[in-house]
């Protein structure tokens, strides 16, 4: 039942140049007691989305450490994914009236997957709500089940959370991207961060010529300050607020604004937001609204690297991995203090936090006035990501979790 998975294989030793040989040796030492033990990761999509992107790179690295690491994908029909998308939005706090039929569909597909997936590994990691009810398949014995939630659960829809909580409470632990997202549960809850791969196309070093080509293609002037927000056209990313902040900054600095995100063509809500953004931009020649293809890692990389300041003015955020992407490129970042962003932006150390349009504009002006402080924040931000948000650190966190579970912590 699980979809065929194509994994991106980068040898673990390739990361030694970035992290140091000692860090790789440490991963091998931590993995040693887990050698030959079985681990199964289950999510609901093989391609697209942050979870699949991370697993795609994490699984081969874990295999290199001689762990029996499996990644299985839950399958479902359109009706299942309609329900789980509604659940997803409701857990984020969107209004939703859950019907008994929705729960029946959810459980029916859980039952089908339960019959098809092995679910017999010593460590089973279930990602997000879609496969959460697979805990029903847990066999008596000593295996460990943990639930990794990538969603902001700080204001969930009561009915949907009450339904899921019955399952989540039966795991050995739950992992969240921010302490703010955790719930009152009878099981241990852990802090787990998403991660970026520094060797991926989205984050690898680029030739200056390529960056220049991308700027030329999008008619961006490399000689004037470039403010950039990379995110899909979604009200929760507040692109209109970004334009308003830019207009305040523009009174003092001759700068440009780049708003780049995935195409809104297959997302009706995104298309509406895009229209709002274009209306707010009002044909300002220094605002570039760029609709990127769904998968455009090199363009995103180039735009981030060309930026003077990267903005992430979200109103709500799961983790906001684009912040780590920018910090990795040593860019000064001005971002909202929401969701997982304050974990990445330690105010005045690895970037600047803001709570409003005016605050965002002020912080941008401050950095444009003090390039030496901007450079220092970027440098510290890079170190912060290197220490905490790279794929190798994520692997280390999983190894630590499995070791802790195995010893009964």
């Amino acid at each position: 039942m699980s979809e065929a998975l194509t994994l991106t294989r980068i040898p673990l030793d390739d990361y030694a140049g970035l992290r140091g040989a000692g860090e790789i040796e440490e991963l091998r030492a931590l993995a040693k007691p887990l050698r030959g033990r079985s681990i199964e990761m289950i999510n609901s999509t093989a391609i697209g989305g942050g979870v699949a992107e991370i697993l795609n790179r994490l699984v081969p690295l874990a295999e290199e450490l001689d762990l029996h690491f499996k990644w299985d994908v839950m399958t479902g029909g359109e009706d299942f994914f309609d329900v789980t998308k509604s659940f997803h939005n409701a857990l984020h706090g969107a209004p939703y009236h859950a019907s008994p039929r929705d729960f029946e569909i959810f459980l029916a597909y859980t039952q089908r997957n339960r019959a098809a997936l092995p679910l017999d590994s010593e460590f089973v990691v279930i990602h997000d709500p879609q496969p959460a009810a697979l805990i029903d398949a847990r066999k008596p014995g000593s295996n460990h089940w943990v639930w990794r939630c990538h969603i902001d659960l700080s204001h969930p829809n009561r009915a949907v959370w009450d339904f899921l909580e019955k399952f989540v409470s039966r795991y050995d632990g739950a992992m969240f991207s921010s302490p703010e997202f955790s719930r009152q549960l009878p099981i241990p809850q852990y802090l787990f961060y998403p991660a970026i791969d520094p060797l991926s196309e989205k984050n690898q070093d680029l030739e200056p010529e390529f960056i220049a080509q991308v700027l030329a293609r999008f008619r961006i002037d490399p000689m004037r300050p470039i403010l950039t927000q990379i995110s899909r056209f979604d009200r929760l990313k507040d692109p209109v607020g970004v334009i308003r902040a830019y207009r305040i900054v523009k009174r003092y600095f001759d700068c440009q604004l780049v708003l780049a995100g995935g195409s809104a063509s297959d997302d009706p809500e995104g298309a509406v937001v895009l229209k709002e953004v274009l209306r707010e931009a009002d044909n300002d020649p220094d605002i570039r609204v760029i609709e990127l293809p769904a998968w455009a890692p090199l363009e995103v990389n180039a735009l981030q690297r060309a930026s003077t300041i990267v903005i992430q003015k979200s109103l709500r955020e799961g983790f906001g991995l684009t912040v780590s992407e920018a910090l990795w490129k040593k860019k000064p970042v001005v971002a909202s203090a929401v969701g997982g962003i304050p974990i990445q932006i330690i105010h005045k150390h690895t970037g600047l936090l803001a709570h409003s349009v005016e605050g965002t504009a002020y912080q941008i002006r401050f950095l444009l006035s003090h390039p030496e402080i901007a450079a220092k924040l970027g440098e510290h931000g890079h170190q912060h990501v290197k220490e905490n948000f790279l794929i190798t650190q994520k692997l280390k966190r999983y190894l630590t979790l499995f070791l802790a579970l195995a010893r009964g912590s």
Partner: protein, 219 residues
């Protein structure tokens, strides 16, 4: 080169962060949290955070000070909390006492600030520690130097910073072994004096290796 009977065994450490049940939205609530949170939580927000944020060598000391500064805007209290030096403590109980004393005194002196809502809440977390032997040990100063040079940040942090709590002495694993094992008390003391607040783990290690190299040249 002298060799000793008791080898220095290099170890690494990894921490899982467990989210606690307490959070604070005011300084009064921070004080309550400090009084009641686990030892693992005090460790996490002081010792462990210093290791995780070692690259910040100006104005970052511990999570409590950072929260008080950024989210409650109380620079005076933040400064006092940041000035607590974990090297002065060989027990979490003593560190907790001083944290509570500083926050308690501030709340008593400025009750109108004590109840003011912070911009963001402080969440008490705790560290779950997992150690793993690296399979490398040292019996001579050369082997010792080589082992330190190859350590990860976490391994270096484990031996140089968090070791105080294990040893319950105001020293670190490296100095302890150099003095006790190799009889190099002066080198041990010089190493123990490297300032971990104004150095990154990398620059601390570089200084430590320079001190060892100087000692090796003497031999």
């Amino acid at each position: 080169m002298n060799a000793v009977e008791t080898a220095f065994d290099f170890v690494t450490v990894s921490y899982l962060t467990r989210i606690g049940n307490q959070s604070a939205g005011t300084l009064t609530e921070l004080l309550t949290g400090l009084e009641h949170c686990s030892d693992a939580s005090i460790f996490h927000h002081t010792f462990q955070t210093l290791g995780t944020h070692h690259f910040l060598t100006e104005g970052f000391s511990n999570d409590f000070a950072q929260w008080v500064l950024v989210d409650t805007n109380r620079n005076d209290l933040a400064e006092q909390l940041a000035a607590l030096d974990i090297r002065d403590y060989v027990s979490i109980a003593a560190l907790r006492r001083d944290l509570c004393r500083l926050v308690g005194e501030f709340c008593a002196a400025f009750p109108h600030y004590a109840g003011q809502s912070a911009l963001e809440r402080f969440y008490f977390c705790e560290s779950v520690e997992v150690t793993a032997p690296l399979g490398r040990s040292a019996r001579t100063l050369d082997e010792f130097r080589d082992g330190i040079a190859h350590l990860s940040h976490a391994g270096f942090y484990f031996h140089f910073i968090s070791s105080r709590l294990r040893l319950q002495l105001q020293t670190n694993d490296f100095s302890y072994w150099l003095a006790g094992g190799l009889g190099l008390a002066s080198l041990a003391e010089n190493i123990n004096h490297i300032d971990i607040y104004t150095n990154t783990l990398d620059s601390t290690r570089a200084k430590l290796l320079r001190l060892i190299d100087r000692e090796r040249r003497k031999a």
